[in-house]
Symmetry: C2
Subunit: 338 residues, 2 copies
């Protein structure tokens, strides 16, 4: 039924070692012999069994990626970018979704590290480093993505969160806004913490209204922005900063429904997934902080493969910078034909 390496060896009239070495280029094999082997392989339709191979070598040629939310454009695009890099280097990608749930993350880490993958990319939903750390077998190659921990034990690839928020809040202040609200992501995440503290510092530095009730948190899933918005609108904001892409689009939809016109009645800043046509829908309604998702994914792929090959390389931390794009001025406000 199944064609094995010894079937090939028999037909080619050589030993299994020669077949193996021919396939893997692991020692000199004469051209005639090589050809005999390849002919036998073709004739039998032999394919080396991946399970046996990874069992034997200990290498699975597979990387796991633990993601908080696949349907989130940010992560979907990142998965694409990671997959692209990995497949170009002969690796496969196993996806695990946590839906921002710690137990699911725990399970997934346990399952994937038990001999299923060579390395793990994690955008963790945890805030407890201890708990996370205990899940990872000693020396297992891990790279944190988008979110990190205070304790720098693992390599990480993140995006600058502080600077763009700080800058955009200052710009709002410069425009004359006094009461600036913010909708953050899950409060426990490092990315959220950094964004909120950038906001707080900018608020303090620019002399804006400091008010706890101007800070709200959503969970970046569908329908989470609405409640936050209701609460913020009750606070009589001049501007709102939304820290995540989906919540930003929901904000625009919701405000429009309420008859509030973004960029006119209220200023908007959105921390947006990435630069696609898609978000250009909003290009004249809000300032956008655009994350370099593709580079993020590529860097993550690079780093995890490097770590797999050299597991005790020094810790590596990379921070990519986002682009800040103030909103276009709608054509109806100025006269110009370009």
């Amino acid at each position: 039924m199944k064609v094995t390496i010894s079937d090939v060896a028999r037909l080619a009239g050589v030993s299994t070692a020669t077949v193996s070495h021919t396939i893997n280029n692991t020692r000199y094999v004469s051209n005639e012999t090589k050809e005999k082997v390849y002919r036998a392989i073709a004739e039998l339709g032999y394919t080396p069994d991946a399970s046996a191979r990874s069992f034997r070598t200990g290498k699975k040629k597979t990387i796991g990626f633990i993601v908080p939310d696949i349907s989130n454009k940010f992560f979907a695009t990142m998965i694409e970018s990671v997959e692209n890099y990995l497949s170009a280097h002969g690796y496969h990608l196993i996806i695990a979704n946590t839906k921002e749930n710690m137990e699911r993350e725990e399970n997934n880490i346990r399952l994937l590290t038990a001999g299923l993958v060579d390395g793990l990319l994690v955008a963790s939903t945890m805030d407890d480093f201890q708990r996370f750390d205990e899940l990872i077998p000693a020396g297992f190659p891990v790279v944190l993505v988008d979110r990190t921990f205070e304790i720098k034990k693992y390599s990480s690839i993140c995006v600058s969160n502080f600077q763009p928020i700080y800058r955009s809040v200052c710009r709002l202040a410069g425009k004359g806004d006094r009461r600036v609200g913010i909708i953050g992501g899950l409060p426990r995440l490092s990315s959220t913490k950094e964004r909120i503290s950038a906001y707080q510092q900018a608020v303090a530095d620019c002399g804006l209204a400091q008010d706890e009730s101007l800070i709200r948190y959503g969970d970046s899933m569908e329908n989470s922005a609405q409640t936050c918005l209701d609460e913020l609108l009750a606070q009589d904001c001049d501007a709102i900063v939304v820290c995540q892409g989906l919540m930003a689009s929901e904000t625009i939809v919701y405000l429009s429904k309420k008859g509030i016109q973004p960029a006119k009645d209220i200023d908007l800043v959105g921390f947006v997934d990435y630069d696609s046509d898609f978000y250009q829908l909003y290009s004249n309604q809000m300032d956008r902080i655009i994350q370099p998702v593709e580079e993020l994914g590529k860097a993550a792929g690079e780093q995890i493969l490097k770590r797999v090959e050299e597991p005790d390389a020094p810790i590596f931390e990379k921070m990519l910078t986002s682009t800040y794009k103030p909103h276009d001025i709608p054509s109806s406000w100025v006269h110009s034909d370009r």
Copy 2:
């Protein structure tokens, strides 16, 4: 270094068979013995090696999913839904992206079927059944998703394409539209073919303008709708049907930029990825045909697992129906406070 089953057996004072049977519940083991085994496992921190296991059993507990475009919301959501189903049943998901490229699909199928996965979910970008069929090892569990072939050799889970397009074109005719344009996906895909032929039949049945130049094809990637639109607008259309979500949103953006107001200056129908808040942005600008992505993903998961367990079950074909939602009438057009 690595803890194996015999380390556990030694510490527990039993045989490896007993440890194995205890772990896998494959034969009776007395409670005392079970406890001894579990204690030893806990003490040593033993985890069964997944590679060895799948090598031994031939089961990888992994399904491959070959996707044309991960960052496409439709597929991203489907991946999420599939992963959800699979992980609940103890399976992992390997993702491969083809970017609608046949060579990439070929490579991926070859790699994944070579002992990496137990079954394969494919949203194929191919139109040549022969070529596809040759890639699949005899008897390998495959379920086609979203796209199928004329020859019904493999099970498939698709979405009804004909009916909703036919219906929506008829409705446009009923409104008085005469020249209805359409933007399809890649012409070689079964889904595109079905949608276009539904359009053609409706056009014929309703006595609408029949004109080859009213039919355009995009590739469902970013920036592909624009060219099609330019060409259609030159044809003086009363309405445009857009067969894919991303292209539909791009259409709205592009028309708005040109100062053409959807649902007022031109009628729009969008074959949209799924029903999210997100597409409600467009709810008052176009009729939406909403695909049941989540059910699609779940059904795909169900079917592939069923096939993995029973590889020569009869071919199964499922067609899920989309929802048709005419656009809301904008509040500014009617007077009502609800």
